[in-house]
């Protein structure tokens, strides 16, 4: 019997699910191995028990928490899909200001449907088994993680920094262009795609496990950046540690 997988989304841009649909060349083969039983963007079928649930978006309302718990209950494995689900993502950018202030600034209204809590990653609500990092996710990395799950192996993420991939590809260092790049402490796996595109790393894949054990964090210190500066840069895609 085919493995039953489902895609679900909460607060986010749906770009990670779109990245899955953009795997045009692999999708037909993939569908030989799995049965997609839920994917609201492209199908209208209710679903029962699931082998794997991929969940995109962050959680910021009571009904979201309930829905996520119900997805968790009927899924053997739950995977956080993308930065919003994994670490709050760009939704958390305003977390230092609180939803009350943001709501007043944007809507100037107290309508019930506009009430939200600060956006949280899935792991704040339910146990998350695995995660696919990035904003958006990397298509080939998603396939590798799904493949490992289908083979009943532990999917593993690279535990080295984007700097490694960047240097192997011989891209010019962004610091030489006078920019702050988070490549030295951000988890690899994206093939340094932003630096290849002439941009800098903005840290969407989150920190590596122990940034100080790798040589690369020194690049940041050499350019006069403090830990606070770096964490401040990280706030674009990552929920602040000490903040609610």
């Amino acid at each position: 019997m085919k493995t039953r997988i489902g895609f679900f989304d909460f607060t986010g841009c749906e770009g990670c699910q779109l990245t899955v649909l953009n795997l045009e060349q692999e999708l037909l083969e993939l569908l030989e191995l799995v049965e997609i039983v839920a994917f609201r963007e492209v199908m209208s079928e209710p679903s029962g028990a699931l082998d794997i649930a991929f969940v995109e978006g962050s959680i910021c309302r009571r009904e979201d928490r309930e829905r996520l718990r119900s997805i968790r209950r009927r899924s053997a494995v739950l995977v956080a899909l993308g930065a919003c689900a994994d670490n709050g993502g760009v939704n958390a950018l305003g977390s230092d200001r609180g939803p009350e202030l943001l709501r007043q600034q944007v809507y100037a209204s107290d309508l019930a449907q506009l009430q939200t809590d600060p956006p949280q990653p899935l792991s704040a609500v339910v146990p998350v088994d695995y995660r696919v990092p990035g904003c958006p996710i990397d298509g080939p990395e998603f396939l590798a993680i799904l493949q490992a799950l289908l083979l009943k192996r532990q999917p593993a993420l690279p535990d080295f920094a984007v700097c490694v991939e960047c240097k192997l590809a011989e891209y010019p260092c962004r610091f030489d262009h006078g920019e702050i790049c988070l490549g030295p402490v951000t988890r690899a796996g994206c093939r340094a795609i932003c630096i290849d595109g002439g941009d800098r790393c903005r840290g969407c894949r989150g920190l590596i496990e122990s940034p100080r054990t790798t040589p690369y964090h020194r690049i940041l210190e050499e350019h006069g950046l403090s830990v606070d500066d770096i964490l401040d840069q990280y706030r674009t895609f990552n929920l602040g540690e000490a903040k609610p």
């Binding site: 770009g15 037909l28 963007e41």
Partner: protein, 426 residues
């Protein structure tokens, strides 16, 4: 009785439709947008202009290229920067790629199941594998445009203030051109497929808004116009497109002084029919659609006509790039200062406005984004209310299907719509 369609599927984002009817009389019909609000404009406050486009791209995965371009253009306007002709052409190509990609996704993944009476295109894997393979092939080619010019299809990385940080390779562009030409038979088959569908009969003339670009089918421009008269600079958008909150939606709605209005493929096609490419006009004839159409279900046909038009335009655009060469400087210099700027692009779903104000250190003071779907919401509700009385004899199941098809014909993108809204500093 009360009909509720919860979590309408095969649209981007989350919406409910609540219909209250009593003895054949429609009491209430409202489209509830239940997607959680994200307060994007407020989150941008205080950010440096160089960070704004990469952040607002995240408003929407499906139209991240349009958000990126509208954002860059508004910032460039504020700072007095103008990209060169080559980079403007590259931006057009990037938009073509996104629109073709988005339209194909809507046509094959969201609309085909409606017209073939199946829950998902994946149901056809065994019975009509060629159709699924064709959909994927076409989508791949469209995404290739986005990858080659933008670095990746979702949240592009190469477009920056002043132009681009990296240019595509001429050899890759030649290959892309071949791919686009090779896609023509697949497009013919797509036209044949859609020409065979029975579209529901329904007609309601709306007010249609799109950009206005003399001599060209609208895409990037500093003016916009209405089927009902006005032609104005995009910086006047707030005078013509008024936003308002409703009690049942997290997205703002919008209206002109005459009421609800429509943006998107149908509006562009109706307002600019003579400026379609020759091949696109031929396809329009085959699909029986022209500037007179006022059936919102025909938005699907308009999208397909546009796919043909943009593929043809993309081929010509690549030729032009190769002819004039890809040489010349990249936009390396980061401008400084601040100011106010407003820009608009035609996103796949229609008019998209971004407007910013920066202080003299280049930090964002206020932002306003008006998104296509938000502009269409009032029009969708008006259509639903107009069509419902004609459907009341249908069995529940069929009634639901017709209404869902009507909503999906607009290809609403609700992830986008729940962050429009301005920070008012006055």
């Amino acid at each position: 009785m009360k009909i509720e369609l919860n979590h309408i599927t095969r649209i981007e984002g989350h919406a409910h439709l609540v219909i209250d009817r009593k003895q054949g009389v429609l009491k209430d019909c409202r489209l509830e947008i239940v997607e959680a609000p994200r307060f994007f404009e407020a989150m941008l406050k205080g950010r440096h202009f160089s960070d704004v486009a990469p952040i607002v791209a995240r408003v929407c995965g499906v139209c991240s290229i349009s958000h990126t371009l509208a954002s860059l253009m508004a910032t460039e306007q504020a700072l007095g920067v103008e990209p060169n002709a080559r980079d403007r052409l590259l931006r057009r190509l990037l938009s073509y790629g996104e629109i073709i990609q988005s339209h194909l996704l809507q046509l094959y993944f969201m609309a085909v199941p409606d017209y073939l009476g199946i829950p998902s295109i994946f149901q056809l894997l065994d019975s009509r594998r060629e159709l699924v393979a064709r959909a994927l092939r076409l989508k791949r080619t469209a995404n290739r445009i986005c990858e080659l010019i933008g670095g990746r299809p979702v949240h592009p990385v190469t477009a920056r203030i002043g132009g681009f940080s990296v240019l595509p390779d001429a050899g890759d562009l030649k290959q892309l051109r071949q791919q686009l030409v090779a896609a023509l038979p697949d497009l013919e088959a797509t036209v044949e497929l859609f020409a065979g569908f029975a579209f529901p009969e329904f007609s309601r003339a709306s007010e249609y808004l799109c950009l206005s670009d003399p001599g060209r089918y609208p895409l990037h421009s500093d003016r916009f116009h209405s089927s009902h008269g006005f032609n104005a600079p995009v910086s006047d958008y707030r005078r013509h497109c008024r936003e308002y909150l409703t009690a049942h939606s997290t997205a703002k709605f919008a209206r002109t002084e005459r009421g609800s209005y429509t943006v998107g493929a149908l509006a562009r096609l109706k307002n600019s029919f003579p400026r379609l490419s020759p091949m696109a006009r031929k396809v329009a004839a085959v699909l029986a659609i022209d500037a007179q159409t006022s059936n919102p279900y025909h938005s699907l046909k308009a999208r397909l006509v546009e796919v043909i038009h943009y593929v043809e335009e993309a081929i010509h655009g690549i030729d032009e790039l190769l002819l004039h060469g890809l040489n010349g400087p990249l936009s390396r210099r980061m401008p400084s200062g601040g100011g106010r700027g407003t820009a608009a692009v035609e996103a796949p779903r229609g008019l998209l406005f971004h407007s910013y104000s920066y202080d003299r250190n280049g930090l964002l003071e206020s932002a306003d984004c008006v998104i296509p779907t938000a502009q269409n919401l009032a029009s969708i509700e008006t259509d639903l209310a107009a069509i419902l009385p004609t459907l009341l004899d249908l069995p529940d199941r069929e009634l639901r299907r017709r209404l869902e098809m009507l909503i999906r014909a607009y290809d609403p993108c609700l992830s986008c719509s729940t962050h429009l809204l301005e920070i008012d500093l006055v």
